[in-house]
Symmetry: none
Subunit: 408 residues, 2 copies
């Protein structure tokens, strides 16, 4: 029996409130160079400590599979309870979400970037001399003005940083993935984007739209230098993902600051609550919206950002800033509270990693693991053990008493 | 999505050096009769302790599945990163490898043993009175001399201990498994070996070759007593196993003393480095070959051997001997070092067991679990948790930074 089906069949409607607080990139490793401490271990966290004393279960979560380092997409899909191998979101879609494009089911999105072509159409610089963002925005504005439709599909163009932008095709019967319209090195012409599956009529139609887009858009850039062409990669459609409300019987809200996380939440049908910029403001908004939703996804970016820089002290301070704001959330304590990361971003790695992230779960039913703090080393000893991140939401549901008994 | 496919797609070529040191049968249980200590816990291991202080991740590995006791074949295949349930190696093949036969892909191998037949061909003693090894060797030499080919296949015969030997058929279009040419009790004639799958033309051909082998070989033994017949079991072909270099992008070398481990390494395409007899010599050879290979499998037999005898003190001393040699390996520290067993061989069991074996992983990215030693009890608290042994190689690859990020 499919496990998702079982969970679904056992799901009960309750009045419980659940909150998932994601400290992006929280997990770390305790190296000797760091005094055998992680930022979480080094941080002063009196409010987390009090929560642990009140009774929490701890453990560590494998984001995707042993040794696999996830991007933000798979990392968050797992936290939202979806198998990140079953529900894969193409790079174009992630990029569009990251730039704040409001994708709809069936949209096909591509990562694009300006390039330089010679008079024969050969790519001479795949990044068009890394033009400034301002130039990219001007060129995107012109493309947006001149190319609004291809065939029966709407075209959405959104500038990114430097030479990067995204193109979204919105219409009926579209589907990815397509091969890249990118030779992946200089000295070659731009290849046509082709269907990955020869049998898919939808991919074929989408490939024709991409070709038509090139026919319309390249002349618009003809007089430009150095950005007189563009490449398209990761051409994919927004996958059909079961929506949060049907899957979990939970009205879900997203409190995130950065577009990508809002976009990922939107993919699974969460309502985006815009406005708050600091973690304290996010928690205040949670209080204000408490009655309107059953599930709150609260995203805090900074531990990841500082981990990427290898900045131990800044990561530690970001965790302390979160801890200082935590009492706001606890003014209306959710019935089930999970605090974790979407993956580890160890300072020693200076990037996302495969190390299982620590997780803390608090409800009237977690009991205590008799640990004094929430840390990576403590989490190794916790009652949750090491488990796949996609099960966290199921454990939250269980602690919310949302599951009927299985069998008599 | 198949996980092996994912790992393969994410694999990057790097310059990293990886070493897997297998202390065969390392795992044990701490019984009260043993003063609540395992041999690993009782051993004096200053060099392992220093390695742990330098920063290691620990955990325990399930060799195949909970409660399953593996033989050396599945135990090692899992350590080599292959699912031991997906890649099964027949007993005939394992036996041939153990006797040092250089198997080739497609060879069919059978465990054989001499037996006694009466004048009507009825098996009266399935082990021919457990003849001496010297008798077995003489009879095998005679068979080897008189029966060199059956049909279009070459026959290879290798004596084992006591009444045991192996027969290998090398030719085109052969395949196992076949049913046993063994009545499994006295009082019956030797049954013909038959195809397990009625549809397999290759199994049918192989069964005909086995029958032909009996027709040629039985007359050679006709005058012997008590060993005037033989039985054949576990008739299987060497399976097609993805080779190490393609699967992991690693040039792999095997430093093992006993034939079976060399044979298992050869199955997955490792290069056998012959010569060294002691663990110190094996480590010296590792130093000498450091540049030529990316992955070193170093096998140390004695903890298992003494565990089989229930000899706690000897097992402890074997671990101490390994520890004393460890500094040689560390003269050129690999980027990723794993030290573990292929399974547990607890003194209290006097044989292989199902108990998860402890594992230690050391790299610049493991950090420390803040444990003081590498022990079974300590490993229970480690950051790697309890996981399936087939993932160890994937964790080694991750620590070698051999995996690209999954998803954006």
């Amino acid at each position: 029996m499919n496990l998702d089906t079982l969970y679904s069949e056992l799901t009960l409607k309750t009045q419980a409130k659940l909150a998932l607080v994601v400290l992006d990139g929280l997990g770390d490793v305790a190296t000797n160079a760091q005094n055998r401490m992680t930022p979480l271990e080094a941080a002063r966290t009196p409010n987390l400590d009090a929560l642990v004393a009140a009774g929490c279960a701890q453990g560590r979560m494998i984001p995707v599979a042993p040794g696999i380092t996830p991007g933000s997409g798979p990392g968050h899909l797992a936290l939202f309870g979806y198998d990140p191998l079953e529900y894969q979101v193409g790079r174009g879609v992630i990029e569009a979400l990251g730039l704040g494009v409001e994708l709809q089911a069936g949209d096909v999105a591509a990562r694009a970037n300006f390039c330089t072509l010679d008079e024969r159409g050969i790519v001479t610089d795949r990044r068009a001399g890394r033009i400034d963002t301002a130039v990219c925005e001007r060129l995107c504005a012109r493309l947006r003005e001149r190319v609004t439709r291809v065939g029966d599909a709407e075209v959405i163009i959104q500038a990114g940083k430097g030479h990067r932008f995204v193109v979204v095709f919105r219409g009926k019967g579209l589907e990815g993935p397509l091969t890249d319209a990118d030779p992946h090195r200089e000295g070659l012409p731009i290849p046509a984007a082709k269907p990955v599956s020869a049998k898919s009529a939808r991919q074929k139609k989408t490939a024709e739209l991409v070709a038509e887009f090139y026919r319309q858009a390249l002349p618009v850039l003809a007089g430009e230098s150095p950005a007189n062409g563009f490449l398209m990669r990761g051409i994919a459609h927004q996958p059909a993902i079961p929506q949060f409300i049907e899957r979990y019987q939970l009205r879900a809200a997203c409190l995130a600051v950065y577009p990508m996380y809002k976009g990922l939440a939107q993919l699974v049908g969460m309502t985006k609550l815009e406005g708050p910029q600091t973690i304290a403001e996010q928690f205040e908004r949670y209080l204000a919206e408490y009655e309107r939703f059953d599930f709150f996804f609260i995203h805090y970016k900074y531990p990841d950002m500082h981990g990427e820089d290898g900045n131990f002290e800044a990561k530690r301070r970001a965790i302390e800033e979160f801890d200082a704001a935590l009492p706001i959330l606890l003014r209306k304590k959710p019935d089930v509270l999970a605090i974790t990361g979407d993956h580890s971003t160890p300072c020693a790695v200076r990037g996302h990693s495969w190390h299982p992230q620590p997780v803390l779960l608090h409800s009237p039913y977690t009991g205590t693991d008799k640990l004094e703090r929430f840390t990576e080393t403590g989490a190794n000893l916790g009652s949750l053990g090491v488990f796949e991140a996609k099960y966290l939401l199921r454990l939250m549901q269980a602690n919310a008493r949302m599951f009927d008994k299985f069998g008599a």
